[in-house]
């Protein structure tokens, strides 16, 4: 496909609002894109993956902080109860 044909088909898919078909088209015709566009597609996908991983990393951090804090609460309570 020529660049213009690629562009027209992609625009058609975007207008149709079919995200899956659009992505499928991009992946199926990946090697037909100019190299700078190929790089943008790849790093764009990577950015989306990082968005998801960043969220998971934040949750992991919260969980670690939370569990450590619960352990600390247990220790303090035990210390108080021992004194009582």
């Amino acid at each position: 496909m020529t660049r213009n044909e690629l562009l027209q088909e992609m625009e058609r898919l975007v207008v149709a609002g079919d995200q899956k078909a659009y992505e499928e088209f991009v992946l199926a015709h990946f090697t037909e894109f100019p190299e700078e566009v190929q790089g943008k597609i790849l790093v764009g996908f990577y950015s989306e993956t990082l968005d998801k991983q960043e969220g998971s990393a934040m949750i992991a951090q919260i969980r670690q902080q939370g569990v450590e804090a619960l352990e600390k609460i247990e220790q303090i309570q035990a210390a108080i109860e021992k004194k009582e």
């Binding site: 660049r3 213009n4 690629l6 562009l7 992609m10 625009e11 975007v14 207008v15 609002g17 995200q19 659009y22 992505e23 991009v26 992946l27 990946f30 090697t31 894109f33 100019p34 190299e35 700078e36 566009v37 190929q38 790089g39 943008k40 597609i41 790849l42 790093v43 764009g44 996908f45 990577y46 950015s47 989306e48 993956t49 990082l50 968005d51 991983q53 960043e54 969220g55 998971s56 990393a57 934040m58 949750i59 992991a60 919260i62 969980r63 902080q65 939370g66 569990v67 804090a69 619960l70 600390k72 609460i73 247990e74 303090i76 309570q77 210390a79 108080i80 004194k83 009582e84």
Partner: protein, 403 residues
């Protein structure tokens, strides 16, 4: 544009400072030697390619107007004013650091790393299957360089996210959930005790409400964590000074402490419990992104919808006819700004100069405008392709323009 770098050599020589040549790796935080990336303005100006990267891309991304003034001054061998000089010095430091960071990132983006990235994203895996990990690494490297030089904000965002997720294992969601569940049980926090309000169809009906609830609980969670830090007033009172003895001996105070601990436990338990429910987990992530330092400001000209894309096509379609149409609109406005009623009334020399200036200015604005658009994966290909179909250089744009 070609400039003699000689004027900078002397100045750079005494500007070299004995500063630390080591800084932190952008992703791993390990020490990074930046000395080999240390370039002077003289070095840069003597190398046309480097000069183009530094001035036309890196500085221009920071302050296009200032960069244009500097470029014009350098081309006409005019001395830079103090502000321009200060700007260049500031940008040089950043440029050296950025290129050092870029090099570190490129070193990380090996074919092996591509395979690892592919494992987390089937779309990237499909591309790797087609072109091979080596080619994928090359494309990644080039795009990261493009971002490092021309889109500092996106580069920094990606690097920050890479740092954030570095060393964090993904894909162990279920095991991690089980671990948190066990911990909650061990600390006597029953699963149904918290976040009941978030169950679908109960008190919270919309995602926004859920996010608000997550935000509120995160604030309380944060206060509890702060209070339990070793240097916090609460902990100092408990263990750190003579008051702790008094606290332990005094029944009323003990009750007060126990009540505080119970409050903290509930706050922490509520958030931990929330991380086990997919909808709440997502709401917590969003609330953290909104309230935390990683919150990304709304990017102007960000293309995230069909409507945005149509807007780009209206404003910046590189198609020759569309470019000429914008030029026809620009001409009278620019002539009026220059207070020129009739080009024909100028001498041939002045007319030639004005026409060339206007074409150059218009061409630069056209190319600059394209750089200003940002798009996520879905629209990146569309935008990239749209702009790849039109003229790519100042001269190519100028060749389309007539008076």
């Amino acid at each position: 544009m070609s400039m003699d770098g000689g004027m900078y050599r002397m100045r750079d020589a005494h500007k070299r400072m004995k500063r630390s040549e080591e800084t932190a790796h952008p992703v791993t935080d390990e020490e990074m030697d930046v000395s080999e990336h240390e370039r002077t303005l003289g070095d840069i100006m003597q190398n046309k390619k480097e000069q183009d990267k530094f001035l036309n891309r890196f500085c221009s991304d920071e302050d296009p107007a200032m960069t244009q003034q500097i470029t014009t001054a350098l081309e006409s061998n005019t001395l830079l004013n103090p502000d321009q000089d200060k700007f260049l010095s500031k940008m040089l430091g950043r440029y050296n650091l950025r290129t050092a960071e870029l090099e570190q990132i490129r070193e990380m983006l090996t074919p092996e790393e591509m395979m690892r990235i592919g494992e987390n994203d089937p779309r990237i895996q499909r591309v790797i299957d087609k072109i091979g990990p080596e080619k994928a690494a090359e494309l990644f490297g080039k795009e990261f360089e493009e971002l490092a030089l021309s889109d500092g904000r996106q580069f920094n965002k990606l690097v920050k996210q890479m740092r954030q997720v570095h060393g964090v294992e993904s894909g162990v969601g279920q095991e991690l959930d089980e671990y948190v569940r066990q911990q909650l049980t061990q600390f006597g926090i029953r699963e149904e005790s918290y976040w009941e309000a978030t169950k679908t169809g109960m008190t919270v009906e919309t995602e926004n409400n859920l996010r608000r609830l997550a935000r509120e609980n995160l604030t309380i969670f944060g206060s509890a964590i702060e209070s339990l830090k070793d240097r916090s007033p609460f902990m100092r009172a408990m263990f750190g000074d003579s008051r702790s003895i008094h606290l332990m001996k005094n029944f009323e105070n003990q009750t007060e402490v126990l009540q505080s601990l119970d409050k903290y436990r509930k706050a922490i338990g509520r958030v931990l419990q929330g991380t086990l429910t997919p909808e709440v987990n997502m709401a917590i992530q969003k609330a953290m992104l909104e309230g935390g330092e990683v919150r990304e400001k709304k990017i102007e000209n960000n293309v995230t919808s069909l409507q945005d894309y149509q807007g780009v096509k209206n404003d910046a379609n590189p198609d020759p006819d569309a470019t000429k149409a914008r030029w026809e609109k620009y001409k009278p406005q620019e002539l009026a700004r220059r207070k020129i009623k009739n080009l024909g009334s100028l001498s041939a020399v002045d007319r030639g100069r004005v026409e060339d200036e206007m074409k150059t200015d218009f061409a630069n604005k056209e190319l600059e405008r394209r750089k200003g658009y940002r798009a996520g994966a879905a629209f990146a290909a569309l935008l990239g392709l749209l702009f790849a179909t039109g003229p790519q250089t100042e001269d190519e744009v100028k060749n389309l323009l007539t008076f």
